[in-house]
Symmetry: C2
Subunit: 399 residues, 2 copies
């Protein structure tokens, strides 16, 4: 009997998956060995702040007051009309846009939404441009549809997009450009000026190649912005923008898998694109975004987690790391620090960090070697306990 | 500017999607014209029976008693250990199997589960065998991974599988065989004897071609069986069986998107297959099955919708249609009747039915022309009101 039964496309992913599981197992072993209090896990983007109290209230309200076959039944694949209308109204109110229910497709989180829109738009060999560093899962999403990821190298001085290289790398095959601001893993936010420049380049290149290029704005961190920084709404700057949103971080609901796509009426071939997104939702096996949670979030669109808790973590960790001699662009949003590794090989640095019981993620996972991601969506007290370990790690490199 | 922006693979689906939407719109127009009471929609498999009362109780309990970051947070991609263990225990208790949490992957309904396992196992050009008539979405799921659907023609005398043709059509490229019993659209249940024959053929052919062929048992209708008929548990008859289950019908929760895969430890290359299923769950954009509902269903594994309500519908509609001269194999499960159209062209028959304000689905959608599917998961009173229309439709053909 052949023993290797899994899809060839999955083989490397399964190997890497096992590596992550091995890390996870090792973390558990470390916790057993040193005590959970003495292992500092900064590896996961799992929100530490509680969902706002409105969530539990809304869940109980929906379960008590609504017809159960409505709450738990099928609706049209893009979602309940009432939810889609509430989402559109809320975006319009906040950003001065003009969307209707027909522009919203409720999705199984942002990851579900990105797969839906890529399934809708991409042909094999199409190119998807990403700015390094970027969320590594984009590689798998593009690969699901046999598209090719094209990386724009990082500007490590600012982690803002390198626009010359971007313009040079757009080809006739470029179908989607992904932006993610506030960014995972750097926490940087793109300014309005930067967005206008990106839009101008994409307009010019769409014209040049005679086919629209879609800007896919992946926005799970939109609400997690600090110091009053503005996160511009992309659809206002570029016609062929599609927004992928998630309530995972804004309402601390990552496990519930609820988000949406915004597909403006202005995008080229709107009728087909919106229909395709509904069909893709169905045939990729989502069928629809979870029904109960659709009704719940539509009641909680003005609620928000307490971002000040993340801000306090950010200030403590950022200031302490700088004091210990680390280099880091100060993040304006999300809940990550992207820190320069103290040696060229980020994986070796991550291994060294583990000796100090610090669990962090190598930057090469995000297409940016020589850096590491530190997720500070953790207890403030754990950060305090971990500071001596970060200090000792820095001292290891001062010899 | 090019106007046709959607993926080539999606073009026909979007066109058909529009046809379904057109039918839906027409249904609404009919309701406006004749009154909603006078339009008889038998087209959708959306459960009409309420979820058992345990569901609402469990939701409120989980929300009140559990840590909200646990209820709404990320867990390992295959699901909460406590849920997976509860599911395994429940299957073991009912069917005398011996599964553990490590054999269960929680999924976004059965549709999500089927995409996960196909992503895990299929290479382009691999063949997936289905028995006509079959749930048409299987075509899209296979196409998502560039696999080929191979149809076994229907035995319209019984709607049991044609085993000779099955054996003849297995090739070196056959990777998956899908069975769905109780069946959508016929409602037939495969006997233990039939399953043993299928297993024997698959064992022989796996041996002959030197590679295991997986039996994928799609079981959303397992709990909807009538007259005490037994629905055998497939893993007991064939080693390389993978079960896809959904709570959509058993607990009337289709909108919530909650189900699971059972991947027995005995399947070939188990370690890689189970790892691949976890990775596929993540990269297809599901990430994990909805967290709150995972915890809810694990408290409701012994609950069940009132199947007697569907049984009453079945008896009324089946007996009445026979009386009017229709031909139909009496279903033993699910909530569909698969009825012989009164003319060769099932689409023309469906159009004729619409003139009587009856909305039903052509059998060609299920790979079985000349028949129609009538979903009786509707109000009993609507069936009573619709009977004269079914009678009049039959009389149209008696001239």
């Amino acid at each position: 009997m052949v023993v290797d039964m899994i899809s060839k496309k999955m083989e490397n992913l399964v190997k890497n998956g096992s590596a992550i599981r091995a890390m996870f197992e090792e973390g558990k072993k470390m916790a057993d060995l040193y005590g959970a209090e003495n292992v500092y896990d900064f590896s996961l983007g799992n929100p530490s702040v509680e969902p706002p109290k409105e969530i539990a209230e809304a869940i109980c309200e929906v379960v008590k007051d609504y017809n159960p076959n409505y709450v738990h039944g099928y609706m049209l694949n893009p979602g309940y009309i009432e939810t889609r209308q509430a989402v559109a109204d809320n975006i319009n109110k906040r950003f001065g846009t003009n969307f209707g229910a027909q522009n919203i497709v409720m999705t199984v989180g942002a990851a579900g939404g990105m797969n839906v829109i890529m399934k809708s738009l991409l042909n094999p060999e199409d190119e998807v441009i990403v700015f390094c560093p970027y969320f590594g899962e984009y590689r798998s999403y593009a690969s699901n549809f046999d598209a090719k990821i094209v990386e724009i190298s990082p500007d490590t001085s600012s982690f803002q997009p390198k626009l010359d290289e971007f313009e040079a790398k757009i080809t006739a095959k470029t179908r989607i450009v992904i932006v993610n601001t506030p960014n995972n893993p750097t926490g940087v936010v793109y300014s309005e000026e930067t967005i206008k420049k990106i839009a101008a380049i994409m307009e010019k290149k769409s014209e040049e190649f005679g086919a629209p290029i879609f800007l896919l704005s992946d926005e799970p961190y939109r609400e997690l912005a600090f110091d009053g920084v503005e996160v511009p709404y992309m659809t206002k700057y570029y016609k062929n923008t599609i927004v992928g949103y998630s309530f995972s971080k804004s309402l601390s609901l990552p496990g519930d898998r609820i988000g949406y796509l915004v597909i403006p009426s202005e995008v080229d071939d709107f009728e087909n694109v919106i229909s395709a997104a509904g069909v893709a939702t169905r045939i990729l096996g989502f069928v629809n975004a979870p029904s109960l949670m659709q009704l719940v979030v539509s009641k909680c669109l003005d609620a928000k987690v307490d971002v000040e808790i993340y801000n306090r973590n950010r200030e403590l960790l950022y200031n302490s790391l700088l004091e210990y001699g680390y280099e880091c662009v100060k993040p304006e949003g999300a809940f990550y620090l992207f820190v320069k590794a103290l040696e060229a090989d980020d994986k070796a640095f991550v291994a060294k960090a583990k000796e100090h019981r610090l669990l962090i993620v190598p930057g090469s996972t995000f297409g940016c070697a020589g850096y590491v991601r530190i997720a500070y969506c953790v207890d403030y007290d754990m950060i305090k306990r971990a500071l001596p370990a970060f200090k000792a790690l820095a001292e290891d490199y001062k010899v």
